[in-house]
Symmetry: C2
Subunit: 138 residues, 2 copies
C-alpha cells in the first residue's frame, strides 16, 4: 500500500492531480488509514500510469474514462477503443494543420521586424492589423 506522495513519484503525476482524478471519477476511492490518509494498491497505481500515459498523448478525461471502463471488461469488443484513438489522431492532425499555418505566418511576421524601429511603421503591428498580409487562412 502506497501513500499518495509515493504514488505521485512513481507515476509522475502531482499529488493534487491524483486527488482530482478521484474526484472526477477516473479512479475509484482508495482505502484509507485510520487517520484518513489515502493508501493505494498496485492495481490503482497501474491505472494511474495508464491515465498519465493517455493524458500525455492528449486524450481527454472523458475518453480515458471510457477506455478504463473497457479495460475493466476485457472481453468486450475493442471497437470503441479504436474509435477513440482514431478521433484523437484526427484531433491532433487538425491541430497540426492549424499550427503549421500559424507557424508560417508568425515566422514571416517575426522576420519582418528587427525591433529597432518604431511602433507606427512596425511590420508586426501592420501584419496584425490586416490579414491581407497573410498567405493563408487561419
Amino acid at each position: 500500500m502506497f501513500s499518495i506522495g509515493t504514488v505521485a513519484r512513481q507515476t509522475g503525476l502531482k499529488v493534487p492531480t491524483i486527488r482530482y482524478y478521484e474526484q472526477v471519477g477516473l479512479l475509484g476511492a482508495p482505502e484509507r488509514t485510520e487517520g484518513n490518509q489515502r493508501r493505494y494498491g498496485k492495481d490503482q497505481v497501474e491505472r494511474l500510469g495508464f491515465i498519465k500515459h493517455a493524458r500525455d498523448l492528449g486524450f481527454p478525461i472523458e475518453a480515458i474514462a471510457a477506455l478504463i471502463d473497457l479495460a475493466e471488461h476485457p472481453d468486450r469488443s475493442c471497437a470503441q477503443a479504436a474509435e477513440i484513438a482514431q478521433r484523437q489522431l484526427e484531433d491532433v492532425r487538425e491541430k497540426l494543420e492549424r499550427l503549421t499555418r500559424l507557424e508560417a505566418e508568425l515566422s514571416r511576421i517575426a522576420k519582418g521586424c528587427s525591433g529597432t524601429g518604431v511602433a507606427d511603421t512596425c511590420y508586426v503591428m501592420a501584419s496584425l492589423a490586416d490579414h491581407a498580409h497573410c498567405g493563408s487562412e487561419h
Copy 2:
C-alpha cells in the same frame, strides 16, 4: 455608430466575446444610447479587427493588450512587439514539435487496432498501458 451585433458581423467576433473584451480591458468602453446599448465608432471596430486577427494567430489576451498599448503610442520603439511575436512563434513551434511526436505515436496506435478484436488483447489498450511501446518521449 454601430450596434454590437453589427460589429460582430463585421469582425467575425461573437457578441458576448466583444463584451468580454471590454470587460477584461482590451477595448475601452464604447458610447451608449439613451437606452444603454453600446454604440461603436470606426476606430473601435478596427481595434476589434486587430484583436480578432491576433487571437486567430494565437496571441494571448495579455500580449494583445501590450500590443494595443503600443499601437496607441506610435512613436515608441517596436522592440516589445518584436519580442511578443518572437515568443508566440516559439510557443507555436514548441506545440508543433509536441504534436508531431503525438501524431507519430497515435497513428501507430490507431493503425495497430482494427476494432474487430477484444479489449483484453487490443493494441490500443496495450499501448496506453505501457509507454515502452512508444518510439519517442512526449
